[in-house]
Assembly symmetry: C2
DNA sequence: CTGAAAGCGCTAACAA
DNA sequence: TTGTTAGCGCTTTCAG
C-alpha cells in the first residue's frame, strides 16, 4: 500500500509541475529524503527534529516552492486559524478602524480574518454567519446588525466561540467589548455643563440601538449629577448619517426654548449637526457648542475641529480579537463585558477654547 | 472495514453532542437512512436525487443542525470558495468602498473574502499573501502596496489567479481594474481651464505611484490640448494625507508666480489643500479653485463641497471581483487592463457655480 | 529522532 | 436513482 502510493506520488509530482497541482508535503519529504511525518514536524517548528534534517527539509521547501495547505491540516487538527469578522458597515470609518485593529491582532497571532459586511441587515448577517461557519472558522467576532434575533446569536454561540464588539446584545450571555458609552457621554455632557450650558440636547442615533441607550444613560446621569432637569423635548433620534444630524438639529432649533449645546450620538451625526447649525446662521464653537462621539479621523480637521469622546476603536478591535483567541484556548472562561474607558478630546466645536 | 467505521460513527455521534465535535454528513445520512454519497448530492443540489429522499435528507440536516464543512470538501474538489482580498489601507474610505464592492459581489457568488490590510508596507503584504495562499484561496484580489517587488507578484500569479485593483503593476502581465486616471484628471483640468485658469498646479501624491503617474499624464495632456505650457514649478508631491496637501499648497503659494487653481492627487489631499488655503487667507471656490479625485463621501459635505473626479470605487471592486471569478473559471483568458470611465462632479470648490 | 499506518469529512468514479 | 470504494494533503499515535 505504501509502495503503491509512492508510485502514485512520483507519477503525480512529475505531472504536477505542469498541471494545476501544487507541491505537496510528500514531494518535499522525498526531495529531502525523509518521511512525511518528519517534514511535517519541521514545518511546525517541532524541536523533535535534528538541526541537520531540519535544514535539509527547509531547503527542499524553498527549492520546490512548497506552500503549506492549512485546509488539509485543519481537517486533522480541527483548527482553521481563520476567524469570522462580521461587521455592520466598514464604510463607516469607526467600524473600519475596529476591523483593522482586530485584523492586526489576528494576523500577528497567525490567524486570518474572513470579512463579511452586513450593511446592517439581519438577512445578510445570517447568510454571512452561515458561510463563515461552513468555512470552519475557529471563532467569530461579531458587530451585530441592529435587528439581530437573539436566538440566532445563541445558536452561533453554541457552535463556535463568539465575541461581540461595539454593540452589546441583550438576552445572551457572551463576551462583549466596546467603549464605555455611559461614562464617555457623561464626560462630554459634564464638560458642556462646566462651560455654562444648561439646555443641552442629545441628538441622534437609532431608537433600538444598545449604544444609544447607554449614551443616553450617561447623558441623564450627567444632568442629574449637576442638578439639571431632564427635558424630553431636547431628545431627538435620527439616522446615523450627516443628513440625520442635519435635520435633527434643525427641528430642535425651531422649538421656542431651543438648546445652546448638543451632545451627539456620534461624530457623523455631529458633522450633520454643525452643517445644520451653519445653515441656520449659527457658528458652532462660538454661539453653539457641539460634542461628538468616536473621534474618527475627520473630527480633528473638520471646520471647526470637533470636540469628541474618544473610544479608540483600533484598540477595541485588538482587545476583542485577543479576547476571542483566549476563549478559543480556554472555552470555559467566564464571559466578560468590557467597556473600555473613553476620554474627551477637547477641540473647538464646544467653544471651550475661548 | 465499513462496519467498523459505522460502529465508530455511532459511538462518536453519541459523544459529539457533548464534546466539541460537529455533526457530520454521515450522521445526516444515517438519520435519513441513506448513504453519504446521496446526502452529499442533496447538499449540492444535484438533480440526480429523488424529491422524496431529498426531503428526508433536508429534514435530517435541519433536525441535527448540520453545518457543511467546506474545508473537507475543498480538499477533494480543490476549490475553497475563498478569495484573498489584500488591500493597502481600509481606513481610507476609498479603499473601504472598493473592498465592500468586491465583498458584495463575492458574497453573492458564494465566495468569502479573506481580508488582509497591509498598511501599505511590502513586508506585511508579503506575509499576508503567504497566509492567504496557505488557506488555499481560489484567487487573489490585490491592491498592491507602493513598494511591491514585481517578482513577488509574478510568483503569486503563477500560483493562483490574480487581479490587481486601483494600482497597476508594471512589468507583470496581469488583469487590472481601476479608474481611468488619465481621462479623469484631464476632465478636471480642462474644467479648470474652461473657467479661465491658466496657472494650475498638480498637487500631491507619492512619486512612485502608478496612479499618480497616470494622473499626471492626464494633467499634461489637458494643458497641451489647450495650448498651455507645462511648468515644472507647479508640480509638488506629498504624503497622501491632509497634512501632505496642507504643506504642499503652502509651499506653492510662497512662489512669486503662484497658481490660481489646483488639481489634486485625491480628495484627501484636496481637503488639506483647502485647509491650507484658508490658513493662508484664501477662500477656496472664490479666489482659488480646487479639484479632487475619488469622490469620497466627505467630498460632498466639505465646506465648500469639493469638485472632484468620481471613479466609483464600489463598482471597481465589483468588476474586479467579477473578473477574478471569470478567470478562475477560465484560466486561459487573456489579461485585460480595464480603466473605468470617470466623470466630473462639479461642486463649489472650483468656483464654477459663480 | 524518524517512519508506517490510520484517519479527519468530504467527493467522484464506478457498480449495482 | 443510490451505494461502494478510494482518495484529497495533512497530522498523529505508536513502533522502531
Amino acid at each position: 500500500m505504501d509502495r503503491e502510493s509512492r508510485v502514485n506520488v512520483s507519477h503525480q509530482s512529475a505531472k504536477d509541475k505542469h498541471r494545476s497541482g501544487r507541491v505537496r508535503l510528500i514531494d518535499v519529504a522525498h526531495d529531502a529524503g525523509v518521511s512525511r511525518a518528519t517534514a511535517s514536524l519541521v514545518i511546525r517548528n517541532s524541536s523533535l527534529v535534528s538541526e541537520q534534517t531540519r535544514e535539509k527539509v527547509l531547503k527542499s521547501i524553498e527549492k520546490l516552492g512548497y506552500v503549506y495547505n492549512r485546509g488539509a491540516a485543519g481537517l486533522r487538527t480541527r483548527q482553521s486559524y481563520a476567524i469570522g469578522l462580521v461587521v455592520t458597515d466598514i464604510s463607516n470609518p469607526y467600524f473600519a478602524e475596529l476591523a483593522i485593529g482586530a485584523e492586526a491582532h489576528l494576523e500577528q497571532s497567525g490567524y486570518v480574518a474572513l470579512l463579511a459586511n452586513t450593511s446592517d441587515t439581519a438577512e445578510k448577517q445570517a447568510r454571512s454567519l452561515e458561510t463563515v461557519l461552513e468555512h470552519g472558522v475557529d471563532g467569530v467576532l461579531l458587530c451585530p446588525a441592529d435587528q439581530t434575533p437573539p436566538d440566532e446569536v445563541a445558536r452561533l454561540h453554541r457552535l463556535v466561540p463568539l465575541v461581540s464588539i461595539a454593540r452589546s446584545l441583550s438576552g445572551v450571555d457572551i463576551d462583549y467589548i466596546g467603549p464605555d458609552n455611559v461614562c464617555g457621554t457623561q464626560l462630554g455632557v459634564e464638560h458642556l455643563i462646566a462651560h455654562g450650558h444648561q439646555r443641552i440636547a442629545f441628538v441622534g442615533g437609532p431608537l433600538q440601538s444598545s449604544a444609544r441607550e447607554e449614551r443616553l444613560k450617561g447623558y441623564k446621569a450627567a444632568l442629574k449629577k449637576n442638578g439639571l432637569d431632564f427635558d424630553k423635548s431636547l431628545l431627538v433620534t435620527s439616522q446615523v448619517s450627516r443628513n440625520g444630524g442635519y435635520s435633527a438639529i434643525l427641528s430642535l432649533l425651531e422649538s421656542s426654548n431651543s438648546p445652546t449645546a448638543a451632545m451627539c450620538y456620534n461624530d457623523i451625526v455631529a458633522f450633520g449637526v454643525m452643517l445644520g447649525l451653519q445653515a441656520a446662521g449659527y457658528t458652532p464653537g462660538k454661539d453653539f457648542a457641539v460634542v461628538g462621539f468616536d473621534n474618527i479621523a475627520d473630527a480633528a480637521t473638520w471646520p471647526p475641529p470637533l470636540t469628541t469622546v474618544s473610544g479608540d476603536p483600533h484598540k477595541i478591535g485588538e482587545v476583542a480579537a485577543s479576547r476571542l483567541l483566549e476563549r478559543i484556548q480556554q472555552p470555559t472562561l467566564t464571559t466578560k463585558q468590557s467597556r473600555l474607558p473613553c476620554n474627551l478630546i477637547v477641540r473647538e466645536s464646544c467653544g471651550a477654547h475661548t
